[in-house]
Structure formats: C-alpha cells, structure tokens
C-alpha cells in the first residue's frame, strides 16, 4: 500500500498546524519542513500541496501575500483569524482519529 494514500486525509490539519506554529510559510518551505519533522517519512507532493492550499484559501482559512526576495517573487500563506480557530478543531479531530486507529491497530494496548 502506498504511504501517501494513508496520510492523504491528514494533510489539511498538518499544513494548518505548521502555519499556526510558524506564522507565514511558502509552498516549498512547507514540503521541506514536513520532510524534516518526520525525518523523511512523510513527503508531501507538490501536486497535493498546492491544490490543498488553494482550497484553504477559497475557504478563507488561509490568506496570501507576495514579497520580493532578491529578484524573485515569493508567495506566503498565513492563517486567517477564522483559520486559527479552525486549526484547533482540525487538530482535535485528527487526535480523535489517531486514537480510534489505535483501538483498531493495537486493541490490547489501547484498552490498557
């Protein structure tokens, strides 16, 4: 089974959490930070990242600003006020989901 299909549904809270912790970030930076934090276990592809960021922008969870970095123009993503609230909800949902998975994958440990 492809690892990417396992975490596909979790990308949204992951990105939101990173934005909450780091303020503003640009696309490439997000992919690299996820890779670094998970020691290369999780690799967000560009084809999954940008459509998701655009969806979050459409839902007004994130907003963007562009800035000149040397001769390059860079687009940064930041959580909106509503996005910050939404992040806590999404993280809680992810934690509940992880606990539920634990019940299935490791029933003995999770029952104590």
């Amino acid at each position: 089974m492809k690892k990417s299909s396992l975490y596909k549904g979790c990308l949204e809270p992951i990105i939101m959490r990173l934005l909450k912790d780091n303020g503003r970030m640009y696309g490439y930076q997000i992919t690299q930070m996820v890779k670094e934090l998970t020691k290369g276990e999780l690799n967000i592809t560009e084809g999954a990242l940008y459509p998701l960021l655009h969806k979050l922008e459409e839902q007004r969870i994130v907003e963007t600003e562009t800035e000149m970095i040397g001769n390059r123009m860079r687009k940064y993503y930041t959580l909106t006020k509503a996005g910050k609230k939404h992040t806590s909800i999404a993280i809680d949902a992810l934690k509940t989901f992880m606990q539920s998975l634990e019940f299935i994958v490791n029933p003995k440990t999770s029952l104590g």
Partner: protein, 228 residues
C-alpha cells in the same frame, strides 16, 4: 544559487507546460528554483536542466494541471464573492435612496402611460439604453486593463458581469412566448417588475465598475511586473 537567466527560463518552462497565467507561474517558478537549488546542493553533478526535469517529474503525471485547475476554481469563487459584496453594498442608505428615486421615477412615468404600446416603448428605450451603457462600459474596462502585459488569473474574471441586460431580454422574450406578457398592453404589475429588473442590471453595472477599479489597483500592487 541559480542565475537570474535560469530563474527567468522557469517562466518559459511553465508556459511550455500549459501554465499561461503569470500569477500562477510566479509561485511555480519560486518553488522550482528553491527545489533546484536544494537538489544541486545535494548532488553537485546535476545540471540545472537535469535538476529541473527531475523536480517536474515529482509533480506527477498531470504536471501542473491540477494546480492550475484548483487555482482557477478558487479565483472564480473569490471573484464572484467580491462582486456580489460590492453589488449588495448598493442596497444601503443613502445608496438605497438613490435606487428608490430612480425606480419611483420609472414607475410614476409608467402610471401615466396608459395608451397601447407606450409602456413597451418606454421599456424598450430604457432596455436599449442600458444595453448600450453596458457595451460602452465594457469597452472602457478593456481599455483600463490594456496596460496589463501578462495574463493574470487574478484579473481573468474582470469582464464577467454580475447581472446583464442580455439575460433580462431573454426573460422578457420567454414571457412573451408563454403569453404571460402582451407587449402592446403591458399591465402595471408586469411593467414594474421589468423596470425593477432593469434597475438591478443598472446597479450591477455600477458595482462591476467599482469592482474593476479595485481589481486593477490591487493587481497593480500585487504583480507590478505584469503591467507596462
């Protein structure tokens, strides 16, 4: 670090892979250049082109198409929300007073028109006037955006109206076909409804004018290189 020339070549690379909008190219070119630099740092034997192609392959079989599609969808929705926000802002005091004044003037005139065809003629004059106003206005909007040298997804919805007189004329004729409306002897209720429709179109043109101005000024600030 990649050179200025190599960075610029990434815009051409995006265009070659069907990304025509400059604002989408900016993000992709920045992503590609950061990834290329990292790739060359990890493997100095790689050439710029080799690194670029390797990174592009990471975008998957669809290349940039999903990214462009999701951005088009997002911009379409954002644009439409902004237009309706401005349109609805016309229904506040004192703008509502002006709206009511225009509407009551048409209605009062309509009250006095009782002869056969008179109301239809008035509506036709107002309708055609509105249509001409819309065409003139659309031309002006196109002229304003003439300074834009590069295609931007951000401004691509600039000519899409909120409501348009064509839609209203279509409704007018549908009503006729269904015999709900006899043009020669339009009753006062039908006259008021059609006049109200024209008023909405008029307001939507004004709102669209404001939207275009705001769009032009923010696009200029965000993407100065796209303008001459």
């Amino acid at each position: 670090m990649i050179t200025e020339e190599q960075y610029e070549s990434l815009f051409a690379f995006c265009r070659k892979h069907y990304v025509q909008y400059y604002d989408v190219q900016i993000e992709l070119a920045d992503h590609l250049s950061s990834a290329i630099e990292q790739s060359i740092k990890e493997n100095p034997k790689l050439s710029f082109e080799q690194a670029r192609d390797k990174i592009y392959a990471g975008f998957g079989i669809k290349g940039f198409s999903d990214i462009v599609a999701s951005r088009e969808k997002m911009m379409g929705k954002k644009c439409s929300q902004q237009k309706w926000k401005i349109f609805l802002s016309y229904f506040t005091i004192p703008k509502i007073a002006m709206t009511l004044f225009i509407y009551s003037s048409i209605i009062i005139i309509g009250r006095f028109l009782t002869e056969v065809n008179q109301r239809a003629i008035l509506l036709l004059v107002v309708g055609v006037g509105l249509f001409i106003f819309e065409i003139i206005y659309t031309n002006q909007t196109s002229k304003t955006f003439k300074k834009q040298q590069k295609a931007l997804l951000y401004t691509s919805g600039r000519l899409d109206g909120i409501l348009n007189s064509g839609l209203l004329l279509q409704l007018f004729f549908t009503f006729r076909i269904l015999n709900k409306l006899t043009v020669t002897t339009i009753n006062f209720f039908n006259f008021s409804m059609i006049a109200f429709g024209f008023l909405l179109v008029f307001i939507s043109i004004l709102a669209h004018r404001q939207f275009s101005k705001e769009l032009y000024s923010s696009a200029n600030k965000l993407y100065p290189k796209a303008f001459a």
